[in-house]
Subunit: 306 residues, 2 copies
């Protein structure tokens, strides 16, 4: 199949490069390092085996990109308004767009921009970073879960999942709402708390006060999900996430990196939308709403506009 | 009357010096600057008129201090365990001890240490600091409210109030529980939030997200107070506190100063006790409990013991 990658960063760059290396046709949209990758190719340093793409198909605008069967969106959600302009050239009537992004409500908003387009969520469990131009550093994990949001063509989405697996990426189809909310159980506490307390996952779990607070925040997410009718998520999932994080190396989530580099944080989809959705359904999330306020304040201190 | 001051800092030093200047007999316990004050006296730079005490009665231990009619305690609450040792020499059977300290539950705990002693709360509305040895800098406000906790001798407490007023300190008797909880309406949001977001009162109120959060935290305190049967405190008091703070100069509360100088913060009485008291009465304070967790974590990062 023919793949397009919008946002060739730590996430889109890694998965797109894996597909290309396995023999799929992949077209990459690049921004800052377009010239570099055009001249030097794309390097992936990976715990699952490093490799180099000598001459990938690269672009610095989407006008001249071909229509694709599958488009992987690896942008930060704060740039999703750009999709109105970037996405149309790649869309055929059957195209599946996979939003490999953080948060709740992303597909809903992109669907509003593109009512007919087939959408899926990509939930990436991966630690990777773009450390320099044309170079992705994949440190650990790598699995991606695909949640079908509005794809009518089940053969297409299944074929994509198979091709991901053939490319060496552990991939499976999961229930959309459950997948998004399960990821939020980890994302909502840890992204914001590592920013608010300027720390990493291990220290938050080591101190009894913040460990308890993280647990309570996880239970706010689980409570909201249950209240919204999301299946297969209960208290045991909070315990599992605490245990999993205990076993991880000390980790700075993406929001902490955005904060450290004074980039806009993904407050809207990681916090505001789920809090608002839960609130409208009558379920309050006071601790996470407080964390949202902290983040908005902190961001306003380094961004001129908030 | 004869007064003793335990903790001759920004608060105890100011009120004690005012009383001494007005002609009362005041005995000061000093610590770091005992030698300096013994040699040079005590200087008060004040917005209400500066003055110097040339030869105050000063001590560096309480063994040789006389029994007093009134003892003003200006210690930080984190040092209250010292009272077991410091207080007895000053106590006559009729002595009134005034705890000019922050938080909820202070009198209860000191009463447990000294079951028979007459206690009152001193709620200081003052901005002052000990800027150098033997020198108190009183910048603005200065009022003190006295709440009777366990003083049976109404003539004594009234006489003290009169002598404070004669000394130029605006002082009045107020209902104990109402006074402590009203002060908590301001103290609980602003002390912790200026630490957590490393900022001052004005910026917290300027940003809509944190202004709303401060309001919600005030309403948690007011809700707890109402739930505990405290009178004369409702939503309008939160509005009044927001307005008063809007009109103040940008301000760093005492906890922010403790944090900046890596001193222990008064988490126990400003947060843990009121949260626990409200919790036991069935009223949750999730936002302030979260703030307490933030503060405990932050303090553990700079104190070896927490």
């Amino acid at each position: 199949m023919r793949y397009g990658v919008i946002g060739t960063g730590a996430i889109g760059g890694y998965y797109g490069a894996r597909l290309a290396q396995s023999g799929q046709e992949v077209h990459f949209l690049l921004h800052n390092d377009y010239e570099f990758v055009k001249a030097n190719g794309l390097q992936v340093d990976s715990c699952d085996g490093s490799f180099h793409l000598d001459a990938p198909f690269v672009y610095n605008r989407t006008d001249n990109m071909p229509q694709c069967d599958v488009v992987l969106v690896g942008l930060k959600t704060i740039n999703n308004s750009l999709l109105t302009e970037l996405l149309p050239p790649l869309l055929a009537p059957h195209t599946l767009v996979v939003l490999i992004q953080n948060g709740i409500g992303v597909e809903e908003d992109v669907q509003r921009l593109f009512p007919g387009v087939q959408l899926a969520a990509g939930l990436a469990f991966i630690c990777s970073a773009k450390t320099e131009p044309g170079r992705v550093n994949h440190q650990f994990y790598g699995q991606i879960n695909i949640g079908n949001y509005s794809c009518r063509d089940e053969a297409l989405i299944q074929r994509m999942v198979d091709e991901f697996n053939n490319a060496g990426v552990r991939t499976r189809l999961v229930e959309y709402h459950t997948a998004r909310w399960k990821k939020a159980v980890w994302n909502m506490p840890f992204n914001g708390m590592t920013v608010a307390l300027h720390t990493q996952t291990d220290l938050l779990l080591k101190h009894p006060s913040t460990r308890q607070l993280i647990y309570e925040q996880m239970m706010e997410v689980i409570g909201a999900a249950q209240h919204l009718g999301v299946k297969d998520i209960d208290e045991s999932f909070a315990q599992k996430m605490l245990k999993t994080t205990d076993e991880m190396v000390p980790y700075s989530p993406s929001m902490r990196l955005d904060y450290d580099f004074h980039r806009p944080m993904e407050i809207q989809y990681i916090y505001s939308r789920p809090i608002q959705i839960a609130h409208e359904a009558g379920f309050p999330m006071p601790r996470l709403a407080m964390l949202e306020a902290h983040l908005r304040f902190l961001q306003s201190q380094y961004l001129s506009k908030n």
